[in-house]
């Protein structure tokens, strides 16, 4: 594992742990609900709210400029800068999007990034690699090397020494700057107030010492009033840096006596995003919580995963504020594991939005070909044409319930087997499911009509996915309960059809006695069971299986359906995080067939079992 990977991996994991600790004991749900409601309502009324706030800011002496594009914003700022030569700048993703620093540097102005992380990457001529921690990919050694080479110092690889140097270096810049540029996290319309959060104090200094202040913000940063804004700020701080309050929350209403203040409000695709089917994405507050928890991000970092906006949400933001080719590339890295969704303070359904985004970007041929071939190999659906595998269209009439074993005595329970159990590599697991049905659910009817449509949905083949759902809806209509042995299919159908969809492993627990195993048994939590009722699977299985504790049980395995074909190296890196400390004889139990196949790649066939087969085998003993 390279040093680069380890830096990102360690930093993101540390933030996640800190955040979990902070959130313990807090009523997070109500904080989120209130903040989400405030944000949604404000975005709906953005036009009116901007009008109100702009009028008030102008009355207070702040010049407001609405820019349609990054180019017009840059031009305005350049004109108002006048002969300013030294400019101190706070961290701002919006200005990164505008490439404002580069624009001003071309005019032979000295623009100094003052956020420590931004300053470091500016010296290294790199782009930020995280929304809130731009130098997350660098070690203290990397920073020391840069400082010693560039400034002729002889500093050790020590965060304190390096920070002290930056303090001395930047203090003079603050004192002598002609102009300051900062971003804003929120603009409240009533009373007109700019809010900007920071820990370092560089925002406070960049904004108060120079004579000219430029506050750059996005059209989507508007809020109705200051009432409730503290809740939004607390949620932002907690999600971004695991703090309830950052060291400084700065507020601006009027210029100070020595100041001229300009507020630049950038559209650059934001209005289009807010009016599109992707409008949920406009609620993003750029906290980066989704990145810290993303199994792909923690392996590849931000530079692989987008230019300015990273991760799954980054693909969407880039689609509207950047160019299409970038968005498509970023979106392809997303595992669709949905790990990010519970972490998002604004409740943005990132994976679902990316499914829609994928619909508008067809995969390049070199990616679609192996996926199609894999689809034929692992998911060839019985009764369908030879070339119809996972990711292809289902037959137009697919309501047949064909099965080698079909029970008709009661129609209250059905078992929807799912396409993954038709994979030849899953023959033993399929047999286990059929035997389980015969033994524990003798009255259940097996629904053996193939795919639930989830692979189509997350690949962006929405019309096919909808067609599958319509077929399944009719198919399951007569039944009170539908059991699924596949956790991904369960999570997908449960979201759409509610309580009648149950996970087979959880349903069979009550029919079994607890069995102790001689060798350790570990639980692997599939990503799709990290939200909803599936989160209780381990507790349920614990009634039957005595699980040994495994530090990495919740960690993604990198399977992601066909992801390991699309991005094999990333997938393998993610998988390698499951390996440490796993020696000797043991069994890993999981309910996801895709995870099961992936885990077998490193642990071998004999060490990884499907939950249903494992419990059946234990009961039989």
């Amino acid at each position: 594992m390279s040093k680069f990977n380890e830096n990102v991996f360690k930093a993101t994991n540390l933030t996640v742990q800190k955040r979990e600790k902070l959130f313990r004991g807090h009523d997070l749900d109500s904080l989120r609900e209130n903040a989400q409601a405030k944000r949604a309502m404000s975005l709906e009324n953005a036009d009116v709210l901007w009008k109100i706030s702009a009028e008030q800011f102008q009355e207070n002496g702040i010049t407001v400029f609405f820019a349609d594009t990054a180019a017009s914003a840059n031009k305005f700022i350049s004109e108002k800068m006048g002969d300013a030569k030294l400019i101190v700048k706070g961290k701002s993703l919006t200005t990164e999007e505008m490439e404002l620093r580069q624009f001003l540097e071309k005019e032979e102005r000295e623009v100094v990034e003052t956020d420590l992380g931004e300053w470091i990457i500016q010296q290294r001529k790199e782009l930020p690699s995280h929304f809130t921690a731009p130098a997350i990919h660098l070690s203290a050694g990397d920073v020391a090397q840069m400082v010693n080479r560039k400034f002729g110092e002889n500093l050790p690889a020590d965060a304190h020494a390096l920070t002290a140097f930056a303090r001395r270096h930047l203090r003079e810049k603050f004192r002598n700057a002609d102009a300051g540029i900062i971003g804003a996290n929120a603009i409240c319309a009533k009373p007109a107030t700019v809010l900007s959060v920071s820990n370092e104090g560089n925002v406070s200094l960049s904004s108060r010492l120079p004579e000219k202040l430029f506050i750059v913000t996005g059209w989507d940063r508007i809020y109705d009033s200051v009432e409730g804004i503290e809740g939004v700020q607390r949620l932002l701080s907690a999600s971004a840096t695991a703090q309830e309050y950052t060291s400084y929350v700065d507020f601006f209403r009027k210029p100070l006596p020595h100041q001229q203040v300009f507020l630049i409000v950038l559209d650059n695709g934001r209005k289009a995003l807010m009016e599109s089917v992707f409008s949920d994405g406009a609620r993003c507050i750029r906290c980066g919580a989704c990145l810290n928890i993303c199994p792909v991000y923690e392996e590849v970092g931000g530079h692989t995963f987008g230019k300015v906006y990273h991760g799954g949400i980054g693909a969407l933001l880039t689609e509207f504020t950047g160019n299409d080719r970038d968005a498509s590339a970023i979106a392809s890295y997303c595992l669709r594991c949905k790990t990010c969704e519970p972490a998002c303070p604004m409740g943005i359904p990132i994976a679902d939005l990316l499914a829609r985004l994928s619909e508008s970007h067809s995969l390049p041929f070199y990616l679609s070909l192996p996926l199609r071939m894999l689809g034929r190999r692992v998911g060839a659906m019985r009764g369908r044409q030879k070339d119809q595998g996972i990711g292809d269209s289902p037959p137009s009439s697919g309501t047949h319930h064909s099965s080698p074993i079909t029970h008709h005595s009661s129609r209250s329970v059905a078992v929807f087997i799912g396409c993954m159990f038709r994979n030849p590599l899953m023959k033993r697991e399929r047999k286990g499911i059929e035997s389980t049905v015969a033994r524990f659910f003798p009255d259940a009817q097996i629904l053996d009509s193939g795919c639930c449509g989830m692979p189509h949905f997350y690949k962006g083949q929405l019309s096919v996915a909808v067609e599958r759902l319509e077929i399944i809806e009719k198919m399951i209509e007569p039944f009170e309960t539908v059991l699924l042995p596949c956790s991904s299919g369960f999570a997908y159908l449960r979201e759409r059809f509610g309580d009648k969809i149950e996970l087979m492993s959880m349903a069979m627990v009550e029919k079994l006695e607890k069995v102790d195993s001689i060798s350790p048994v570990y639980y692997h939590q599939p990503c799709h069971l990290k939200t909803g009722p599936g989160t209780k699977e381990k507790a349920a299985l614990n009634q039957v299986i005595t699980f040994s504790s495994w530090e990495n049980e919740n960690r993604c395995c990198g399977s992601g359906g066909t992801y390991f074909v699309q991005h094999p190296f990333v997938s393998r890196k993610i998988l390698s995080r499951k390996e440490p400390g796993m020696d000797g004889k043991f069994t890993i139990v999981t309910s996801c067939p895709s995870c099961l196949l992936q885990l077998r790649r490193v642990f071998g066939r004999g060490r990884v079992a499907h939950s249903v087969s494992y419990m059946l085998q234990s009961a039989t003993k």
Binding site: G201, T246, Y248, L256
Partner: protein
């Protein structure tokens, strides 16, 4: 920023400040008043001029006098000010390997003194 209550407290604070001066080896210390404070969270400070900002952000130690207790800082937002800052801690960063370092740009220490 001086006010009557501030002056009355001055003598009581003198000893305290002398101790601080020893402790911080006579580094620069500034004292600012807050408009209100939220116990356990921080204090809301109005910034009306460049020198106010310099006092709050350029000394090595800042002492914030707190006497008007609030439940949330939003109560302060209802009032009049040009610019302000809710201060909850010293200037700090974790940008290098997530190691927390105080005093990256502003005060290395921030002391809240509750005045009853």
């Amino acid at each position: 920023m001086a006010t009557e209550w501030h002056q009355a407290l001055q003598s009581q604070l003198d000893d305290f400040i002398e101790k601080l001066k020893d402790r911080f080896q006579r580094q620069s210390i500034s004292i600012v008043e807050s408009l209100g404070f939220v116990p356990g969270a921080g204090a809301f400070v109005s910034i009306g001029s460049r020198s106010d900002a310099e006092e709050l952000f350029l000394s090595e130690v800042v002492i914030i006098l707190c006497r008007n207790q609030l439940e949330t800082y939003e109560a302060s937002l209802a009032g009049e000010f040009s610019q302000a800052c809710f201060v909850s801690a010293e200037s700090k960063t974790a940008d290098i390997e997530k190691k927390l370092v105080s005093g990256v740009h502003g005060p290395k220490e921030c002391i809240f003194v509750e005045v009853q």
